[in-house]
Every structure is written in structure tokens, then in C-alpha cells.
């Protein structure tokens, strides 16, 4: 029986980001297709050679074609697996390294931002999705810096302005309102 006090379980969301997962899928597909093509080319030429050789040998001590090509086939399948897996693993390590580099730079940039440095570019690297993300972080930092600098300039100007009390009070309130809008 359902317990009405328990909230319903939240569905697990699996985000699909074509900009991030798409290139990874394409790269894996390229590895698989390349591996398959090389395998097909090699095995096909080997089959032609081995069957012809077996036919003219004249001594048929086998029951099926598999007995002739067993070692060859197993060797090529093992090579296909090793080639595709090792290349795929290298791709994973490359992806992980790129993510660590790109997002690591972003994390550093956010930490610098907390120390007040909002102008040094993130430099998340040349890889598409991370570069775009780094630019987005930089845009947010840049907006914040522009806002803070504007308020700072206006505050300094207002402090040294000799304007009337009414005008001063108006600009004072406006300044307060703008400060309230920083990091809402």
C-alpha cells in the first residue's frame, strides 16, 4: 500500500546535450566504422587467399570452412576488439582530460572572481562546448564587473558633487537600488 506521506520518487533525468555528447558519439562511431572496415578488408583478402590455397592443396582434412580459417578469424576478431577498445579508451581519456582542463579553468576563474578578479579571461580552451561555457562564465563576470564599476564611478562622483539635497537624495536612492540588483 502506498504511503501518502512519502513524496513520489523524482524521475531520473538523463540530459542529452548534442553539443557535448554528439561529438563523442560521432568519434566513437568513426572508430567503430574504421575498425570494421579494416577488419572487413583484411579478412576478405585473407579468406580469398586461404580458401584458394586450401582448394589446391588437395588434402582436405577438415569438415567445414571454419576449420580452415578458425585461427585467422579469431586473431582478426581479437585484433578488431583490441584496436577498437584501445582507441575508444584513448578517446575517453582524451575527453576526460579535455573536461578536466576546460572545467578546471572555469573553476579557477570562478575562484578568482570570488577574490575580485572579474576581468581575467577564463581561457577554457579550444574545445567547442567548454570554450562556449567559458565564454558564458566570462560574460556573467563581465556584466557584474561593468555593473560594479558603474556604481563605483557614480558613488565617487556623487560623493564629490555639490548638488542640491533633493537631487542628492534621489541619486542616493537610485544607487542603493542598483546595488540591490547585484547578484540578485
Amino acid at each position: 500500500m502506498k504511503n501518502p506521506s512519502l513524496p513520489p520518487p523524482r524521475p531520473r533525468i538523463r540530459y542529452v546535450s548534442p553539443r557535448f555528447q554528439g561529438p563523442a558519439v560521432l568519434a566513437f562511431a568513426a572508430i567503430i566504422v574504421t575498425g570494421g572496415t579494416i577488419f572487413w578488408k583484411l579478412v576478405d583478402s585473407e579468406f580469398q587467399r586461404v580458401f584458394l590455397h586450401a582448394a589446391i592443396q588437395g588434402h582436405y582434412a577438415f569438415d567445414s570452412a571454419y576449420d580452415i580459417v578458425r585461427d585467422l578469424l579469431v586473431w582478426h576478431l581479437a585484433s578488431l576488439f583490441a584496436g577498437v577498445f584501445l582507441t575508444g579508451s584513448a578517446l575517453i581519456l582524451l575527453l576526460v582530460a579535455a573536461t578536466r582542463h576546460g572545467i578546471g579553468k572555469t573553476v579557477d576563474s570562478l575562484r578568482r572572481s570570488a577574490d575580485g578578479d572579474l576581468s581575467t579571461p577564463t581561457g577554457a580552451g579550444p574545445i567547442g562546448e567548454f570554450a562556449r561555457f567559458g565564454e558564458k562564465i566570462d560574460a556573467a563576470r563581465s556584466d557584474t564587473l561593468a555593473s560594479v564599476l558603474k556604481i563605483r564611478g557614480d558613488a565617487a562622483a556623487l560623493a564629490s558633487s555639490g548638488i542640491s539635497s533633493e537631487e542628492f537624495r534621489l541619486r542616493w536612492d537610485e544607487l542603493k537600488d542598483r546595488i540591490r540588483r547585484i547578484a540578485p
Binding site: V25, F28, F62, L110, T144, I151, L158
Partner: protein, 185 residues
Amino acid sequence: MSGPEAAGNVPLIHRRYVYGLQLRLFVNFAGGVGILFVILYFALSRPLPGDYAGIFHALRNLSPFFRAILSVSVLLYALLACGSTSALCVYILHKVAGPLYRMDLILDQYRSGVHTRTVSFRHDDQLQPLAKTFNLWIGTLRRDRHRWLATMMDAERHCLQDEATCRAEMEEALREVAGDMARYR
């Protein structure tokens, strides 16, 4: 410091996650090659004709016959392996794509001036330091904002006194706030 330990002791991407990804890839590719082997085994293990001439002719004609079978089985392998690897990429990489997507939304909200809530990723998501440092930055900004507003409101209290004191205190507060903002560059 842009390595995996970019925020304290929490790595951006856990080693366990990378090993898990490689293990799944291993099983995936092994399965694909296994299926290819089974197809080729059944195609190749058909018994050859019993007599000498029959075997000779069969062996002479096997290559073109197997070329077609080989082509179809390799194509099937490529399709299956590509399909399962794509599913694997979506299934596994969403733990990285998810936080990026979430941060994208948060940054859009932040820039549009909407109230930004504390960012937290799902328990098993990667890139946890990203949320931590973003919250640190926003937290610092809010703390500074509160201080600036407190300075200004403190100056406003002097307006209960005479006008000149009020104005002098407000101008002093403005100079203090402007000086405090100078740390942002």
C-alpha cells in the same frame, strides 16, 4: 591549478567514473565482437560436401559467397556497436552534460537579473567543484552587497540629526563604498 583537484579535495571527475566508463565500453565492444564471431561461425561452420571434387569446387567458390556474408555481418556489427555506444555515451556522459546544462540555465538566470538560488548538482553528478565555486563567488558578491547597503543605511541614520551631518555622513559612506568596490577589477 586546473587539474582534477581544482576545488579542495573533490575531483572534477572521479576516477571510479572513468573506470566505469571504460569497463562498460569493454563489455560493449566485447559484445559486438562476440556477435560478429557468432554470425561468422554459423556461416562458416556449415559442413563441406563429402566427395573430393565437391570440396574442391566448394572451396574455389567460397570467397565470393563469404564476401557477401562478411559484408553484411560487419555492417551489422558496426550498426549494433554504434547504437549501443551512442546509448552508452548518453547514459554515462549525462553526468557531465547535466551539470553543464544546469549551469547554463543558472548563468542565463543570473544575467537576466532573476534571483539566483544556490546551485547543487545531483548526488552522482560529476563537476561538483563547479557548483561549489559558483556558489562561493555569488556568496562573496552578496556579502559585499550587504556590506555596501549596510554602510549606506548606517549613514542614513545620521539624517535624524541635522542636514549637514547627514550629507557629510552620506558622502563619507559613498567614498567608503567606492573604495570597497575597488577590489573588483
